[in-house]
Symmetry: D2
Subunit: 297 residues, 4 copies
């Protein structure tokens, strides 16, 4: 385990930093009602981002506030927010700065995304706990050992798949995992597993979705002769490669790039795109709207 | 003049769309106070973007609201906002959807930015009036004629500069111009002219500022052997090339690019970067904070 | 028509600049044979770019040479090259600097690509003749008039389509057109028309192909919630949206962008991507290899 | 040490792959002479890239050839090339596929570039030997241990600097090091050290040079309010931050980014930009021309 380095972000998540995520049908008075309830309890609104989707008729808001000088207390504030939320039929989630999210990383044999995530976690760029790594191969255990994270191997075969997923899910629940990151995990998760963790599984697909869905996207891209290749981080749903897109990016390529060059260039993209998506999730910046995301980045 | 084409943006700026821009020292209760005054008059808050700069201790907000169902009237609402603004020592500006900004474009001999701006204006991407074009050369008059915009030629020499700028300023004021766009205008404006139009002159500089300030930036870039060239749109201040940056972008280049190739590649950038900055200004998305901008894009 | 401006590229295409494009099955000795025949006639090789595609087993080369001090003459040199080409079963094409390509632009109602191409042509960035513009609408005739280019209107209906395409093809052939640019031409060309101009029709598609093939790609992109939108310039083949890709680029978007915003952002991309593809074609930088391109950019 | 993974590039550098880099004053017949000498010895020219800089009057070429079926032998071929080189006063360098370059990495306390380089080396993306890591701190020794690379600590103080650099240089020469990579090494190397390794030290600077030279570039960028931040990989010369630029890239930022956010975003850039520069050097793709580079990428 490398020595403890100074954190790369200087902004501590103070104990009293609250982040409120809200979505509901768009109606007059929403914004004022929330601003008022927070101000009324003595919370100081730090920043707020909102979005109204006219097609879906939906409203989304992210509010960060400082609760260090509350006139009441956390519980009373939460009750107050709950009453406003009920009035407007809001779906809402409130996270506090002293509650770190717990993340499980799933991998197979490719190490670039795993090393990248762990290096960012170690430098505190990713502010979370990582209580476990799950894999269907032994290959990357030494990396887990190096970072002193428990590594759980669940070999998967068609016969064992169901039972192994059950065991994985039990382990994740026992560990209180909030987010599962598929860091080039080469197994297709079953629908029943996915449905246990809605909007809580992030996958990295190595193409600019919806182009080149399915297997071997770099080979597909090479065969089609595209001039840019991409990577896409998305929430996993039961419809493979169709989940809400969180982030995408591309890199230029040319006729000189063989499929292996696309793979090398793409690996750099995958790391960066996946890390952005994970960080945004950890910072409560993402709301799902049907099959799309609102990212308050 | 080309025939009237269908607008490329479907969102009309309705008469009753208000955009409120606010900046002040950061204090508790700001957001709630503004939300409350708007809600109290029956304005429906459509969206809001805010930013607190911890270094400067400054707060910035942009609020768009629908005033079509006001319980009072515009004048009463404006008075109410003014009272809140006074309480918090806010600098503020309120623009209505039925008040189009009036833009003057200054040019010399390069036509690419002018043609681009006028084509965007004609397709209604830039929602403004353009009552005049000012130039120190005759070269681009035919373009102005084509788009049926009055073209005013003010030849500049060291002797005539002061008087000509006076004449220009008088014309701009007579025309009620809100924004001056320097679309590759090759004269340096005097400090006294600039100070008459604070935060109302946008310039395009053909480098990634602060690299390659001053003259012939593409030649400078070529001589230095950079691998990317850039363009920068900024508000003009009396300190040349030092004004608050609104937008920047870059394009890749290589050893194969001669200075003329950099110039050609850069022209595409200049157009796009300048157009973005102008559009954001027209849409009241930009606030200046010292020598920096807050762009609610 | 705007006044004659100084050209933006300082490199004249001198009369004696030869550009040789070659493709064939990859074999030993190819490069030396071509270098030798050119040197033997006194042509000075200026630069050369080559590519071997191991999958296709194909070899591609672009050679630019100065023939101003030939020891023989053009005809003899061409015969010499022809003999080498025959020996290696090369497909080849030789273009001289004093032969400008002739380009026809096809448009419908969108003007942004047309204005952009004509502005680049007028500033000599695109070094070609444009003897005609073809359209199925009257809408853009004033732009053609402004640039003093003959505008030919061929209204298309299901009944007239075949006859109109015949008339268009006859006109193109009478005008000796080398390249057809579909600048957001909203008609689907028939297979028989396309086959008359193989690798000589460039289309701009407003998506990052192969994503969002077919109609209304911006709406498709909006519905899918992508975080980048793209544009693709490709040679038109009988398989719609499947032709060899010449160039692609993307721009970032977010949940805030409505379909109309995607359209506006995309228009900037379309212009730039199409202009690059056209320029590369004019400069003899593109070779087609099956369904892919080799672009010596 | 992680398990041996399959290489990410499938193209082995075969024993008989030769890469010839040439630069000289531009003259007629250069290309033909080199093509001929290679063909004459039975070397099969695989690909060739060349560039003539008209301002400097210099010619640059990179030729890759397969020497597996030489009619003579390596030594004879090298003699032949040497004769051509002498005739044209060429500066040249010939590298064989079975000679791996030896790289030393210099670090201080930041780990992101080091981890990234070692992960790429481990996955064979960077095809080189790394016989040692040099640091002025102990902080990153565990990373070196993990990858089983000798870690040499040379603490530097004003008094010891000269002697320590002497010791470092002796070590580098004893290890036969071809390339020194300064992976966020926080010491300024003395001119005498730099001059021992001309065009063999690559540094990563965390700004878009020439903007924000010198110390704390992210703070400088934050203070200036730029909308993009960059990173620059360059060869180190005695003029700090002035050496020939190899590669640059940028990432978008906004008013919301604090200096620490710029630092985080920039770290991703630094890794990628440095890795590209190192790979291109290892693949003999870079030639220096005065204060600029020719990169046959």
């Amino acid at each position: 385990m490398p020595p403890s380095l100074p954190p790369t972000t200087s902004d501590p998540r103070p104990r009293d930093l609250g982040t409120l995520l809200v979505s509901c049908a768009d109606r007059r008075g929403l914004v004022a009602a929330l601003a008022q309830i927070l101000a009324g309890h003595g919370a100081n609104l730090l920043d707020s981002d909102q979005h109204a989707d006219p097609t879906a008729g939906q409203f989304f808001q992210r509010i960060r506030f400082d609760a260090s000088e509350l006139r009441t207390d956390r519980a009373t504030l939460v009750r107050g927010i709950g009453e406003v939320a009920e009035r407007f039929s809001m779906k809402w989630r409130l996270c506090w700065g002293d509650e770190r999210k717990r993340v499980a990383i799933f991998v197979s044999r490719y190490d670039h995304c795993l090393i990248d995530l762990l290096a960012r976690w170690h430098s505190r760029e990713l502010d979370c706990d990582i209580p476990l790594i799950v894999s269907n191969h032994e290959a990357l255990r030494p990396i887990a050992d190096y970072f002193q994270i428990p590594f759980h191997m669940f070999p998967i075969s068609p016969e064992t798949k169901h039972a192994q997923e059950e065991a994985e899910a039990a382990l994740l629940e026992a560990e209180g995992v909030d987010l599962i990151v598929l860091a080039r995990y080469m197994q297709i998760l079953s629908g029943s597993f996915i449905e246990r963790f809605p909007e809580r599984i992030i996958n990295i697909h190595h193409s600019f979705l919806p182009a080149f869905k399915g297997g071997k996207p770099y080979q597909q891209a090479h065969a089609r002769g595209v001039k840019l290749i991409g990577a896409t981080a998305h929430y996993t749903t039961v419809n493979l490669d169709e989940g809400p897109i969180i982030e995408q990016d591309v890199v230029r390529c040319s006729h000189r790039d063989r499929a292996t060059d696309l793979s090398r260039k793409g690996s750099d993209l995958e790391k960066v795109v996946l890390a952005r998506a994970v960080r945004w999730h950890l910072e409560d910046r993402i709301l799902v709207c049907g099959n799309k995301t609102v990212v308050f980045a």
